[in-house]
Symmetry: C2
DNA sequence: ATCTTACTAGTAAAGTTTTCGTACATGGAC
DNA sequence: GTCCATGTACGAAAACTTTACTAGTAAGAT
């Protein structure tokens, strides 16, 4: 098994989000998505993706001239790391406290509350 | 109204956690709590607390020779910021996805699931 | 009054993250 | 074959984070 990649930084997470969304992609493709949202330089995105390859956050296929990058870990795996890390650092490991924080951060619709409840039901079943 | 302090860094969050726990305290008091957990220098803790005062993360009472520091924002307020920030950046704003991440990050007891469910019930009532 | 202890402030250095300019290479158009 | 567009690699600098040393000062003990 590969060594675990480190927790992605903010900028790295943004790039991973694009890769998860559009799948394996070249720097140009990632850059074009990001630059639609905010000012960014191609060479900055390139540099990040090179660093991420070194760190093991992405895999790089160099067969083509324009290298193709792919997230090394799934969105779910990474989300688990990030949620677990924040839960430990800021919420004393309490999922409840984390959920309170999330819910109070913005308005939550009834539909969303219902979904959350359903999620807990499924979790309970899976555990029993 | 004061300007909002920035999101605390890791080291800053550790210090805030101590302040929330023991209340307004001197550098020495915070240091003694932290150094029980891990190697740390007094002057490092001092420096952080000075920086945090500049950033507005803590308030400082200089009436005594040993200045007394106090978290400028409540634990709940800060947790809301942090949870909201991560939810946006890594979970597309979905509380459900964040909860999935948190629950899958570690074993969750039945008691905790029950607590979470109760929390949602209360939330629903509060909204209706 | 002097000594010692405890505290703050200032300085600095190392590490990490973020940003971007530029050089060089390669593939395709002509 | 030469030229141009599009890539990657490299280097470097700015900003932020983390750490720690040291000078100076003030309070309390003797």
């Amino acid at each position: 098994m590969d060594a675990e990649p480190p927790k992605p930084t903010n900028a790295e997470l943004e790039i991973l989000t694009v890769l998860w969304s559009i799948g394996p992609a070249t720097v140009r493709e990632v850059y074009s998505v990001i630059s639609r949202r905010r000012p960014a330089q191609y060479s900055t995105v390139l540099k990040f993706m090179q660093i991420m390859a070194e760190k093991g956050l992405v895999r790089r296929d160099e067969k083509q001239r324009a290298h193709v990058y792919e997230a090394a870990r799934s969105r779910e795996w990474t989300q688990r790391q990030l949620a677990g890390d924040l839960m430990e650092r800021a919420f004393s490991g309490s999922a409840k406290a984390l959920l309170v924080g999330a819910l109070s951060a913005r308005k939550t619709s009834k539909a969303e509350l219902a979904e959350l409840r359903k999620l807990l039901d499924e979790y309970r079943k899976g555990q029993k």
